[in-house]
C-alpha cells in the first residue's frame, strides 16, 4: 500500500505550471530510441494508475553493456517506467501496463510469463538501501538459495564472495560476514544491495536513484562500480543528478510528464539538446 502511495505521489506531484503544459510535445520522441544491439525493447508503453495515465506511449531500447540514464523532473514517470521493466508495478493495485516490453525477444507482459524468474533476470536496486535485517552473508546468499543456483555450501560461499567482490565490498566485509547487513554504512549497504542483485546473475540491472540517500564519497564509489558493472550487465539508472547521468551513462533519456521527450548519446543530450524542454531542464530552468 505504501508503495502505491509513494509512486502515486510521484505521478501526481508533477510540475503543473501553465507554460510547461502548453509545451506538451507531440507523441514523437526526439532522437533515436533504438540501439543496434538491444537487450530490452519497449514499444508504445502506456501505464495507468487507475484512471490516471503515468506513462504515455514510451518506446525505448536498452542496449547490451550500456548504461542508460533516465532523467527528468519529479513525477515525470521515469521511476514508473523503470519499475515496468521487471514488473515491480504488478504489486501496485490499479496499475495497468499496455504496449510491449521485450527482454531478449520475450514479451515480459505475456500472460504465460512468470514474473518471479523475470526478476531474477532483471534485478533492481532501490532508492533507499534496503538490506534484509540478516547477516551480510545471508543478504547475498538469499537470492541464489531460493533459486537453487548453487549445489553446496562451498559453491554458495564462492558465489557470495565473487558477488561481494564485483560490488567492491569484499575487502570491507570479509571479516564480518556474519554481522547484520543493516549495521553497515549507507554506501556499504547500497553496495551490499548491488551484490545481492548480481548474485542471481541478472542480465539487466535497474537502479532507482541508487545514490540519492548517500554522501558524495559513497556516491563516487557507486558510480565507479556502475561503470565496472557495464562490462557484464545492461544497466538502466534513474537519477535526479544530471552530473551523475553525465558521468555514468552512455545514453540518456529525458522524461517529462509521462512523455519520453528526447533520447540520445549522453554527450549530445548535455551539450546539444534538440528539444526545448530538454534544454530548459539541463540548463536548470526548472526541475
Amino acid at each position: 500500500m505504501n508503495t502505491m502511495v509513494e509512486v502515486m505521489d510521484k505521478t501526481t506531484g508533477a510540475i503543473s505550471s501553465a507554460d510547461l503544459a502548453q509545451d506538451r510535445p507531440s507523441a514523437a520522441t526526439v532522437g533515436d530510441v533504438t540501439v543496434a544491439d538491444p537487450r530490452m525493447t519497449c514499444r508504445d508503453v502506456d501505464v495507468w494508475y487507475g484512471a490516471k495515465q503515468a506513462i504515455k506511449g514510451v518506446s525505448l531500447d536498452i542496449g547490451k553493456n550500456e548504461v542508460l540514464s533516465m532523467i527528468g523532473p519529479s513525477g515525470c514517470g521515469k521511476s514508473t517506467f523503470l519499475r515496468c521493466l521487471n514488473r515491480m508495478n504488478d504489486t501496485i493495485d490499479g496499475c495497468r501496463v499496455t504496449g510491449s516490453i521485450k527482454l531478449d525477444e520475450q514479451d515480459i507482459y505475456d500472460k504465460a510469463l512468470d514474473p518471479v524468474p523475470l526478476r531474477a533476470q532483471v534485478g533492481m536496486v532501490f532508492q533507499k538501501p534496503n538490506p534484509f535485517p540478516k547477516s551480510i552473508y545471508e543478504n547475498v546468499a538469499y537470492g541464489p538459495r531460493i533459486h537453487g543456483l548453487t549445489n553446496n555450501k562451498a559453491e554458495l560461499d564462492e558465489l557470495v564472495e565473487s558477488s561481494l567482490r564485483k560490488a567492491g565490498l569484499w575487502n570491507e566485509v570479509k571479516d564480518r560476514l556474519d554481522q547484520p547487513g543493516t549495521g553497515l554504512s549507507g554506501g556499504q549497504q547500497q553496495r551490499l544491495c548491488i551484490a545481492r542483485t548480481i548474485a542471481v546473475s541478472p542480465e539487466v540491472i535497474l537502479m532507482d536513484e541508487p545514490c540519492s540517500a548517500l554522501d558524495p564519497i559513497a556516491t563516487a564509489i557507486i558510480e565507479e562500480l556502475i561503470d565496472e558493472l557495464r562490462a557484464n550487465y545492461s544497466i538502466a539508472i534513474v537519477t535526479h543528478s544530471m552530473q551523475q547521468a553525465a558521468r555514468v551513462s552512455q545514453r540518456t533519456a529525458y522524461f517529462h510528464l509521462g512523455d519520453l521527450i528526447e533520447v540520445g548519446e549522453t554527450n549530445q543530450i548535455f551539450t546539444n539538446p534538440q528539444h526545448r524542454l530538454t534544454e530548459d531542464y539541463i540548463t536548470g530552468r526548472f526541475g
Binding site: 508503495t3 509513494e6 493495485d93 532501490f126 534496503n130 534484509f132 535485517p133 531460493i146 545481492r196
Partner: protein, 434 residues
C-alpha cells in the same frame, strides 16, 4: 489609516508573545498535574486491590494440621498380612485416627462429645492417611506421630478468623472444642503447614480439601488448544487479508466485521458455542475442547487485528527487496515479512491468550460451571477453569472458601503477570532494527 494623534509606539510581536506566555505555561502545568493525578490515582487503586487480595488470600497457602500418635494397627489395615493394595485401600483409616484422638482425650466419653471431637478432623484425613500408608506399607504395625488434616472450622479458629471471645452461639466452634484445641496447642500438637492440597487436589465441598489443580489443568488444556487453533488461523487470516487479498468491497466488509467481532461481549460467544459446537456438532459439553473452540472464536479478532498492524509496520522496502531478487510472494512473506512482524504478532497473541485465561462468562454457557472434583487428563475430560473456579468458590458460604477464593485469584494474577512479562520479553528478544 495613520492617526497622527496616536503617539504610542506600535506593539512589537515579541511583546504580544510575552503577554500570553504566562497563560500558556499555566495551562501546561495544569495538564501535567492532571496527568500525574490520574496516574497516582490508578496506582493507588492497583495497590489497594493487590493488598486486599493478598491479605485475604495468603493464609490459604497454609493449612492447620493436628499431630497425633497413630497406631497403624496391622489388624485393622491388613488383617491377612498380604500387603495387597486392594486390601490396604479398603481399610478403615478413620477408625485409626479416631482411636488416636480418643487416646489424647480419654476423659471424653459421651457419644455426642465424641462426635464433636471427631469433627475436628477433616473428613478427607483418612484418604490422606491411606495414601501415606499405601506409599510406604512398612509403616503398618508401627505407631507414627503423624500430622492429620484438621477440619476447616478448626483451621479458621487457629488462623484467627473465628473470634474465641465471641458468644458461643455466634461462632461455629463450641467452647468445648476451643478447650480441646487450646490443650493440643499447649502440647505443640497444632501447627500450620504449607498447604500442598491446594495445589494438588481438585475442588471439594470441604474447604480444607479444595484445591486448584483441577481448574489449573482445565485452564492449561483450554489455553493450549486455544493457542494451537487461534494462532495459525489468526496469523494466516491476517497475512491473507493484509498481503494477498484484493482490496474490494468484500475484503472491506470482512475487515469491518473482524473489528466489530473484537468488541462483541464474550457471553455472546458462549451462546454461539452452545448452539453451534454443543447443539449442532455435538462436542461434549464442559470440556476443554469446547471451551477452546469458543475461546478461539473470541481471541481470533484480537490476533488478526494485532497481526495486521504488525504486518503493516514492516517497511515496504523489505518486500520490494525480496521481490526484487526474485522471491515469490509467499517466500517474501514467510522469509522476510513474517519474521519481522513476529514480535508484534506474538505480543498480540499473548495478550489475547491472557484475556482467554481470565474469561468466565462464555464458559458458563457451555457447562464449565459444573462441580468437577477430578483433575482432567485430556481435552475431552469434563473440566473447569481457574476463573470459573474462583466464581464458584466466591459463591460458597463456608468461611474457608473466602481465603481460597483470594488465593486462587493470586494464582490467576500470577499467571497473567507471567504471560504479560513473556509478551514483553519476547518482543525485546525478537525485535530487530532495519
Amino acid at each position: 489609516m495613520n492617526n497622527p494623534a496616536d503617539t504610542t509606539p506600535p506593539r512589537r510581536a515579541i511583546d504580544i508573545v510575552n503577554a500570553s506566555l504566562k497563560r500558556r505555561y499555566a495551562r501546561e502545568r495544569r495538564f501535567r498535574w492532571l496527568g500525574a493525578t490520574a496516574v497516582t490515582l490508578g496506582m493507588v487503586f492497583v495497590v489497594l486491590l493487590f493488598a486486599d487480595i493478598i491479605l485475604k488470600g495468603y493464609t490459604a497457602f497454609q493449612q492447620t494440621y493436628i499431630q497425633l500418635p497413630i497406631e497403624l494397627a496391622a489388624a485393622t489395615i491388613d488383617p491377612d498380612g498380604t500387603r495387597d493394595p486392594a486390601t490396604l485401600a479398603r481399610a478403615d483409616y478413620m477408625k485409626l485416627i479416631r482411636e488416636a484422638l480418643r487416646e489424647q482425650f480419654p476423659e471424653v466419653r459421651d457419644r455426642r462429645d465424641r462426635r464433636r471431637l471427631n469433627s475436628m478432623i477433616s473428613v478427607g484425613a483418612p484418604d490422606l492417611l491411606r495414601e501415606r500408608v499405601m506409599a510406604d506399607p512398612a509403616l503398618i504395625g508401627t505407631t507414627q506421630e503423624l500430622w492429620i488434616l484438621a477440619d476447616d472450622d478448626i483451621d479458621m479458629l487457629v488462623k484467627g478468623y473465628i473470634d474465641r471471645n465471641a458468644p458461643e452461639s455466634d461462632r461455629r466452634v463450641s467452647d468445648q472444642m476451643i478447650g480441646w484445641i487450646n490443650r493440643l496447642e499447649a502440647e505443640g500438637r497444632v501447627a500450620k503447614r504449607f498447604n500442598t492440597i491446594f495445589f494438588t487436589h481438585g475442588t471439594s465441598r470441604e474447604p480444607e480439601l479444595a484445591g486448584i489443580a483441577g481448574a489449573l489443568m482445565g485452564s492449561f488444556y483450554t489455553l493450549a488448544l486455544t493457542f494451537l487453533l487461534s494462532f495459525p488461523i489468526g496469523v494466516g487470516a491476517a497475512l491473507y487479508l493484509e498481503e494477498f487479498a484484493p482490496k474490494n468491497r468484500w475484503t472491506d466488509l470482512i475487515e469491518v466485521n473482524v473489528n466489530n467481532l473484537a468488541a462483541v461481549p464474550s457471553i455472546v460467544f458462549g451462546l454461539l458455542g452452545l448452539a453451534v459446537f454443543i447443539g449442532f456438532f455435538g462436542v461434549p459439553r464442559s470440556t476443554p475442547l469446547v471451551a477452546a473452540l469458543v475461546m478461539t472464536l473470541m481471541t481470533l479478532p484480537t490476533i488478526i487485528i494485532a497481526s495486521r498492524v504488525a504486518l503493516k509496520s514492516v517497511p515496504p522496502s523489505i518486500r520490494e527487496a525480496a521481490l526484487g531478487v526474485g522471491a515469490s510472494p509467499l517466500q517474501t512473506q514467510f522469509h522476510h515479512v513474517l519474521p519481522l512482524a513476529l514480535p508484534g504478532i506474538l505480543t498480540g497473541s499473548i495478550i489475547g491468550m491472557a484475556r482467554a485465561l481470565g474469561e468466565t462468562a462464555p464458559l458458563l454457557m457451555i457447562g464449565m460451571i459444573a462441580f468437577i472434583v477430578d483433575i482432567p487428563k485430556g481435552f475431552t475430560d469434563a473440566a473447569t477453569v481457574l476463573p470459573v473456579q474462583i466464581f464458584l468458590w466466591a459463591d460458597s458460604p463456608e468461611r474457608g472458601f473466602v481465603e481460597r477464593t483470594s488465593a486462587a485469584i493470586i494464582v490467576l494474577l500470577a499467571f497473567l503477570f507471567v504471560m504479560n512479562l513473556a509478551a514483553v520479553l519476547l518482543r525485546r528478544r525478537f525485535e530487530r532494527r532495519w
